[in-house]
Symmetry: C2
Subunit: 221 residues, 2 copies
């Protein structure tokens, strides 16, 4: 694997996160995600095309090549391993890990990452519940279900939160919901699709449709 600049890596990672079902991403979406201008995106796509990391034809969007996907998974691996390290070993809070991992993920020594993985005991999920790709870029499909789709009175464990904005994290922390929280859905209100959920040893609480759509859980055994 060749060496890529921080900027190139950020573009690749952002494309990976934004890609739709068919893998395509538009210039404006990418510019928005990276807080840059569409013209800059076009410039970079030309470069990434030459480096064979994306497929790109002017005016028709772009998508990652196989090479590009491999790189994206490698960067995500680095990011999530560092997040795990920060939370687990350095006792950073959930909300803090992301920003620091954004910097650490660009240190590209393969040996560093593989040894870090080993040191951490080969964790399979980061502190937000997102799966960590292994050293070959294989990623576990976290077969989790959205809270909205969880049957009533079935206990499950929160394993993933898709929106990780500060506002979302604040709300979750207020409701005392985090990765690993065990809960069950007690009632579903058809009017606004809000849910009444029960967390062990706490009074039942209410969850809006919006929130429930962003919380993913795994059925308990």
């Amino acid at each position: 694997m060749l060496n890529y600049s921080t900027s190139e890596e950020n573009y690749i990672k952002a494309i990976f996160h934004l890609q739709h079902a068919d893998g395509t991403v538009t210039t404006n979406e990418l510019a928005g995600e990276l807080r840059t201008k569409p013209a800059s995106v076009t410039d970079m796509m030309k470069k990434l095309k030459i480096k064979k990391l994306v497929h790109y034809e002017a005016y028709h969007g772009f998508r990652l090549s196989n090479e590009g996907k491999k790189l994206a998974l490698l960067i995500i691996r680095r990011h999530r391993l560092w997040e795990f390290f920060l939370a687990e070993k350095l006792r950073f809070s959930w909300e803090e890990v992301h920003a620091v991992a954004e910097d650490l993920e660009h240190v590209s020594s393969k040996k560093l990452i593989d040894k870090l993985d080993e040191f951490l005991g080969f964790p399979r999920f980061d502190p937000h519940g997102d799966p960590i790709p292994d050293s070959h870029g294989r990623i576990e499909a976290s077969k989790q279900v959205c809270l909205q789709d969880l049957p009533l009175n079935k206990t499950a464990t929160v394993g993933h939160v898709s929106d990780q904005s500060p506002a979302m994290l604040e709300l979750l922390s207020h409701k005392k919901i985090g990765i690993g929280t065990k809960l069950e859905v007690k009632r579903k209100f058809g009017f606004d699709n809000s849910l009444e959920i029960k967390i062990r040893q706490q009074a039942p609480i209410n969850i809006s449709e919006q929130l429930s759509k962003n919380i993913f859980v795994k059925y308990d055994e």
Copy 2:
């Protein structure tokens, strides 16, 4: 503390390492250390002068300002803490830690470094025996003595090796000498200033003057 580019940080660190008794460094020395060209050094010195990190007058060398010294110690702190982490936690060998730490040292979160320090148990020396500045930039003067100056039959512990070239590290590893090795000088040969030294439970070995001048030890209590 403001944020500086990787390049600026590398210049500051290099000046710190090269500085003579009066703190000055020349353009050519710095260009050599950084494997760059003298013209590039001049460009950067103008910039660092504007940022008040160095004192600089054209044609008369330069030296770090107090701000610059503070920054240098911060970068050295990051570097040495990461070296300690790599060696101690990830089991990197002595020779490998430096290159990786060169990248990690530019991740500038203060909280990250202070938490890393705590996680590592506030180590005072890195794996090469160099002292680690504390969070205020205070650095311990390692009051160590060169092997050449160690009195006969006095046991001491290796605490620092000043030349860390691959050739040096190879020789040290062959002679089974490392940081923490306990030894004493048995004889001194005036002809070439070579030493006969004894390491616990090993046959006595010979050390050239050149080598002995690069090994620093602390008297045992």
